[in-house]
């Protein structure tokens, strides 16, 4: 008795379909092995289908044979493929959700002011300056007198000072570190003094009773105003980019002569004039100058042999420009929503 060709074809298709259904449910290597034996072993379901060849007419046999070979190969391939995927994952390919949040790692950060300070320090260290430190509580002598700011002199009005006693003040600038350094060392001196300073300024958008400065000093034979301009220019361009220009304007500080205020060309409008630079094209940065020979007198340096330059800058000012912060007080609030941005 010969079976109907269509019937046999459909039996083959059913077997194939059943196989793929079983395979899709295979969760482990054992499951897979079981399925392999069930279908591909000598008495397996695929092998047993070959016995159906004899049940059809001779003309149809090659057709059935080809179909059976195709199914056998498909089953073998699918099992191999599944085998490989098990090798990759070690387990079943079930639904895995890679979009679940990862386990939280606590993220720390450095304060924006300190980041700016670090950057400034790095630039000057790169130019061969040594970083020196000093106390925040200073003697009147080191904070003022040795910097050529005598008692009862109008130049004391330039800084409002917190006094602890007749003798001690909270340093109003980091310049006393320069005095200590010159007292302890002989030229060549090439140093910066980063640190915290204090002035009796009522807090507002641009004033804080605590603030940070970096001041620099270089003393050696033949140090000139042109050297000072060079260092400040190099610093400006390292900090804000190669196209920044620097402008020096004459000014007055008791400890420098000639004295200057220096400005950077506006980093926002490239010197064209904008709201930030009040249409001047320039941003006021800070003061600088050649060390006044009177200061050398206090530290026993011979002004006929040595000359030097000094410069300062406010870290808050630079940070406000860099991060476009318009109120200095936010730096000292330490709001996490602010700190997280840096």
């Amino acid at each position: 008795m010969t079976e109907n060709l269509e019937t046999i074809i459909s039996v083959i298709a059913e077997t194939e379909k059943a196989f793929f259904y079983r395979l899709s449910n295979a969760a482990t290597r054992d499951d897979l092995e079981e399925i392999r034996i069930e279908y591909l072993s000598r008495k397996g379901k695929v092998q047993s289908l070959f016995s159906l060849i004899g049940k059809v007419d001779g003309v149809d046999r090659p057709k059935i044979g080809a179909e059976l070979n195709r199914v056998k190969k498909a089953v073998q391939d699918a099992i191999d493929e599944k085998q490989k995927s098990f090798q990759r994952t070690g387990k079943a390919i079930e639904f895995f959700d890679p979009t679940l949040p990862g386990r939280t790692v606590s993220i720390g950060s450095l304060h924006p002011l300190m980041q700016v300070m670090d950057e400034v320090k790095q630039i000057f260290v790169g130019m061969g300056f040594r970083i020196e430190e000093g106390d925040e509580i200073e003697t009147d002598y080191h904070n003022f007198e040795a910097l050529n700011i005598p008692k009862h002199h109008p130049s004391r009005d330039m800084q409002d000072t917190f006094y602890l006693s007749d003798e001690y003040v909270l340093r109003t600038h980091t310049s006393p570190v320069q005095i200590h350094t010159m007292e302890d060392q002989k030229p060549p001196i090439r140093m910066i003094a980063p640190g915290r300073c204090f002035r009796k300024d009522t807090p507002d958008a641009t004033h804080s009773p605590t603030f940070h400065q970096v001041e620099g000093l270089c003393v050696d034979r033949g140090v000139s105003f042109a050297d000072l301009k060079g260092v400040v220019l190099a610093f400006a361009q390292k900090l804000f980019g190669k196209d920044v220009k620097v402008r020096f304007r004459p000014s007055f500080f008791p400890f420098t002569e000639p004295s200057a205020e220096y400005d950077f060309s506006c980093i926002f409008c490239k010197g064209q004039g904008c709201r930030v630079c009040k249409d001047t094209g320039w941003l006021e940065i800070s003061g600088a100058g050649m060390v006044d020979p009177a200061v050398f007198g206090f530290v026993d340096y011979d002004p006929d042999v040595y000359s030097g330059y000094a410069f300062g800058m406010g870290i808050e000012r630079i940070a406000m420009l860099k991060y476009q912060v318009n109120d200095i007080r936010i730096f000292y609030e330490n709001d996490l929503r602010f700190l997280k941005q840096f």
């Binding site: 720390g108 009796k200 050297d227 004295s259």
Partner: protein
Amino acid sequence: MKVTLNWLKEFVDFSLSATQVADALTMAGLEVEEVYTLERNFSRVVVGKIVKSQKHPDADHLSLCRVDIGGNILPIVCGAPNAYEGLKAPLALDGSVLLNDLKVETQKIRGFESQGMLCSEAELGLSERSEQLMELTADAEVGKELGQYLGEPDIVFDINVTPNRPDCLSVIGIAREIAAMTGSSLKKPELNITAIPDAIEKYMTVDIKDEERCFRYSGRYLRDITIKPAPFWMALRLHAVGIRSINNVVDVTNYVMMEVGQPLHAFDYRLLEGKKVIVRAAEAGERFTTLDGQEHELDQDSLLICDGVKPVALAGVMGGLNSEVQPDTNTVFLESAYFEPTNIRRTAKKLDLSTESSRRFERGIDPNGTIYAMNRAASLMVDLAGGHVVGDAIDNYPQKVTPVEIDLSVHQSNVWLGVSLKKEQIAEILSSIELSVEQKNGDTLRAIVPTFRPDLTRPIDLVEEIARLYGYDNIEPNVAPRIDQLQEANPRVLFRDFVRQTVSGMGFRETCNLSLIHKKFGHEFLPQKTGFVELLNPLSEDLGVFRPNMIVSLLTSVAYNRNRQMHDMRLFEIGNVAWKEDGRSVKTEKTQIAGILAGHRQENAWYGKAKEFDFYDIKGVVEGLLAKTGIEKFEQESAHDVFWDAESSKVIVDGKSCGAFGKITDDVLTLFKIKTNDLFAFYFDFDKLFENCRKEKIYNPVPRFPSVPFDLAILIDVNVSAGSLEKEIWKSGGENLVDVHLFDYYKGEQVEAGKKSVAFSLTFSSKERTLSDDEIENVIDQILAHLSGQFGAQLRDR
């Protein structure tokens, strides 16, 4: 210091625009902070002429005027005292708007119609004089717009004059700078005083008792003075530079002070007794009332101007109430003196009385300029107050100040500036600011400095002038590196940054807090037997003392964030702290690093429930930080006041306390209004860490033989600390014990009461060989025997 464009133009010719002048002054060191045109706050105001004026029948202070505005005569009711016939005054027409949006309309005033308003200078915003109608000159064209009559409004420069430039606290001083910049010269008019011949001694003599503090005292006597308002042009200029107009005599003294920089004082001669002026030091406790009505108690630091009987002025600061010019003053004694700067500053500071006069004296005026200023004022008083100068000038000048001579090396100047200017160029620059320059031999120049520049005494002072006038812009920056000046790194700074990086790497955010705090937050944090470093002049009590511990700062930040619904945080900061040892004035300042954990280590998450921080979190941070700095081992000692007694520990390295960590007490949290008690903190004396940190890293060979792990569980009394167990294990573990790790700690049902089980994982390793099982067993037995001896420990599991 304010000056106006027109005022400057009286003394120097220039064609620069106002903006160009401002830029040039700024680049020459006179920073122009603001340039503005004087505002005209009025419209529809014309020149009117009062052709008829009669009293209001029912109101004494009102006049009924008829005012000619050129072709039209308007009825005007006016309340000013000077609304007399023939006066030309500004008339605001119906519909005009004046200062402060005052609208003028036709209205009835006390029964009479007024078709406008006759105006004072104040109503027009031209000065603050409001008592009288503004008086226009006789040549004013009736009916003309007032704005046209006044001409172009003047322009004001507000200049920030640095303390070294007293000469620029004057119009002439600034004009001199403009002359130098533009290559023109200063026009300083000659003054000719015509005096009524008489012997001045008949009227006044001057006796300087204190020549150290009064170098020079000049004076003039004037009579036939009529006190009245100063003319409009003078009031306008004074108003423009911020000085209130008083009357013609006082205004002249102020006007000349602004013009030439010499403070002047006019006494009512009638009120000076004994026909003499004595300059002397005040006596301790002497009382004196200045013309602002304030009474001051003086000491010997202050200098007084006295007549034959009483003090009449506080020298250099302010005149006396008892001798000021009165409405009926008809004779005036005019003072023009030079006082020693430091003394004036001391007095002004002590009495908190800074005036335009003291500001100039304390910076140093020109001692050789008293006569010029005095004569300028006298001639103005003659012109404006109808006065007559009587006799010669008095000039008592015991301390003659002569011009300073400075020798300058051209080479030295060029080295300092990094330029190569020629001797002639330098001479030209210095001459432009009125220094006389002699070209001496070779490299040297001699400059003779006029006495109005007290800031120029040394060669370097001249170098600054040269740089300033040559132009800072023209000095080329030198960017060549100086390898020979390179310096070594500072190890403390490197360590500080390393520690900051380490702690932030452990998930902490760096904060930056103010160093000043309110006392109440600091008490708990002061070391024993110390007090606060207190400010003598704090901004407020909230910022009254220096912080004694960095934890105070961190708590401030936690409280700030907790108030803004942020609960969990890890913060740290390195900063300076300070205190005073009891009974001593010497302060102790230290650098500290502190960190704080607040809230939860982990939030509620899909992989686990939220976990609060505990003591062992902060301890882990401390251990991590110390390990990272190369401090592998530290001792613990209990209790620190800032922390809970139980959950706290000192950190002892090499026998010395370096810091502490633990749980913050409820008392402290209440102070900061922090409502949960889940805060743990640590702090270290930064320099102790630095002292003990690993300075050099030297390679320690990695073991080449396998290490052997061994787990050991011990039963022991509950009150034996894990730390002491670990210490004894190390002690008894022999040379091959390389690691001790506590991995289980159990109290409860599984062990007998009063006991706990502690399990350690030990690692053994030898540099020379593979260790045998027997060797390990022996060591374990040794350890067990030791622990049993020390603590009665029993083996639980091996």
